[in-house]
Symmetry: C2
Subunit: 342 residues, 2 copies
DNA sequence: GTGAAAGCGCTAACAG
DNA sequence: CTGTTAGCGCTTTCAC
């Protein structure tokens, strides 16, 4: 690893000059520029990013806090984040909190503001106090998937109208003539699944449909969780003709459960999810779902973060209020829903 | 963000002392230690990792090069890498090369040795020259899933006996009485899928079974790729009773294709894959597959990397030869394979 | 145009 | 035990 001053020596100039040609700052004579470039080439010089970070007082990385990268939804988001981050010259450090606020805090305290200049939070189950603290220490924080455009979290965020997503899903089922509709709701009582369910409830109410307690189940946000909940639902109410899940994974599990119960999807049972993960296209039948603008959310989150990093002064005042809203979720009709036929 | 010297001033000592108490180096009086700790607390001080990295001449991060984190297999691996890395105090920077050697090179040149002190390579389609260069510049490199324990790549690596995996899969099918077996091989002609296919060929040959060209297809490493290839296979040879895929995703696609062709898996058609990704348990029927020790590979890779980082001198000599082999792949029989019944 | 010099925040000898 | 002194590799005024 050669250094700036080695390059400088070889080019017969000083390191300041080398720095200047490398960053196109200041005026440098064409001749010296050439010599410097040659020296850089000859020595195979590459700037030391940590040193640069220290000198500039900023870091070339951002942290992405996520509960577990192994959950099928996050990788798609992480990929989009990484792409967006690259365009602003940032690398992304992946921080799996494993849903543990302790782990999250450890990450935040160590890297925020020292190794990474900002943090993106994606359903990582973090303590809001911790988030505020890291913000106070100078590292901007943005929440990547806030579920309520109408209820700001007091932290910069990009919001997705999940309530609307829930409503769209329910409306689709209702339009198809379904009246006995079951719901599988992500296990965490509050948070992102609550608003989806609220949207569902809104639509049901408007259509004059009841939601008996028996037709709602809470389940872990996995295929298996959905499977179990769906079996349960179907065994308690044989008349049910449609199931709404607050997420794609449980919806996929529902399709499996139906198959095991000898019920054909979509003819005997319609199933709908929310998100539109890649797998949704690849199930049998392909899953009807309400697509959430993942890539857009990632891009907005990165650009908001960048803005907060670059205009800390102006941003300081707006921080609490700063909220970007993505374009609305959209219904994607595929093969798992059908006109009620019973 | 308060600094070491601010803490020092407040505690009435010098920054060296603060550094000492924080890292438990050197002897420090109990009284001063207390005062320092109080000051740290009062100022909410956190060490600046970039500064520390510069001073120590090493970085607290490693880079994980991967073709695309959105591919369902990598996240599981990435999670294991991150966990292992944390135990050695490293953060992991995720580098999506998108299969593009150019992109890979850009990453390597920028971060290797400056922002991250080592790099893990996971099927990222990188140029070996580039890897050798980054190694030469002082950043250890380890390949995470080398497919041939018997043929070292000239770079440190952890090897998984994929040939054996292919053999195990084939043997399972053969034992079940299948003789007309189709094969779906990952698209890249050389590399990781080749050895899996070789293992398959070995077993077939030993069993005295032929592999007509018609019963082999190359396909992208996706569900859809497998779907198309399987349809193709099945339409050309209605007698085929089993299909071996070099990876789980195409195997899953094969199950779908069979369903669309009205063939029951496993009674009309047995399907087997390799890897054992999470999805394999969750398909209908659950996929029989040969499990590859992902987590073990991740842990070995990280510890090998750490060793290379820490003993550069000794390691230098061994670098080219350094190879860890994981425990062997194992057959996991689930629902997609069955005794031949035609 | 180019160089000299200070400093980013921390660590690591070495003195005292 | 604690302080002094040098850097780590780079950026950035500010002189010349």
């Amino acid at each position: 690893m050669s250094t700036l001053s080695e390059v400088a020596r070889r080019a017969g100039v000083t390191s300041a000059t080398v720095s200047n040609v490398l960053r196109n700052r200041g005026r440098v004579g064409e001749q010296t520029r050439q010599r410097v470039l040659e020296a850089v080439e000859a020595l195979n010089y590459r700037p030391h990013l940590a040193a640069r970070a220290l000198a500039e007082g900023r870091a070339p990385t951002i942290a992405l806090m996520v509960s577990s990268i192994a959950n099928p939804f996050y990788p798609e988001f992480a990929l989009a984040v990484e792409r967006a981050a690259r365009t602003s010259g940032h690398f992304v450090i992946i921080c799996n909190t494993n849903e543990d606020p302790q782990a999250g805090r450890a990450y935040l305290e160590q890297i925020a503001g020292t190794l990474s200049e900002g943090v993106l939070v994606m359903n990582a189950n973090l303590d809001f106090d911790d988030l505020h603290k890291t913000q106070a220490r100078g590292a901007p924080v943005v929440l990547c998937m806030w579920e309520r455009p109408d209820d700001p979290p007091g932290l910069p965020c990009v919001a997705v109208d999940f309530r609307r997503a829930g409503r769209l899903a329910a409306e689709h089922l209702i339009e198809l003539g379904h009246t006995r509709i079951g719901a599988i709701v992500g296990s965490k009582p509050s948070g992102i699944h609550a608003s989806r369910y609220e949207g569902f409830v809104d639509a049901m109410r408007e259509a004059g449909l009841k939601i008996p307690a028996k037709s709602v189940r809470h389940a872990p946000d996995t295929i298996e969780g959905g499977y179990t909940a769906a079996r349960n639902l179907l065994e308690h109410d044989a008349q049910m003709t449609a199931i709404f899940a607050t997420n794609d994974l449980p919806a996929l599990g529902t399709i499996h459960a139906a198959a095991d119960l000898g019920r054909d999807v979509p003819h005997d049972l319609s199933v709908i999810g929310i998100t539109d993960i890649q797998l949704a296209q690849q199930s049998r039948p392909p899953l009807t779902t309400v697509a959430v603008p993942t890539v857009e959310a990632a891009e907005l989150a990165v650009s908001l973060l960048r803005e907060l990093i670059e205009r800390p002064s102006r941003a300081a005042q707006q921080k609490a209020q700063r909220m970007c809203v993505t374009s609305p979720p959209q219904l994607i009709v595929r093969g798992s829903t059908h006109t009620r036929s019973l």
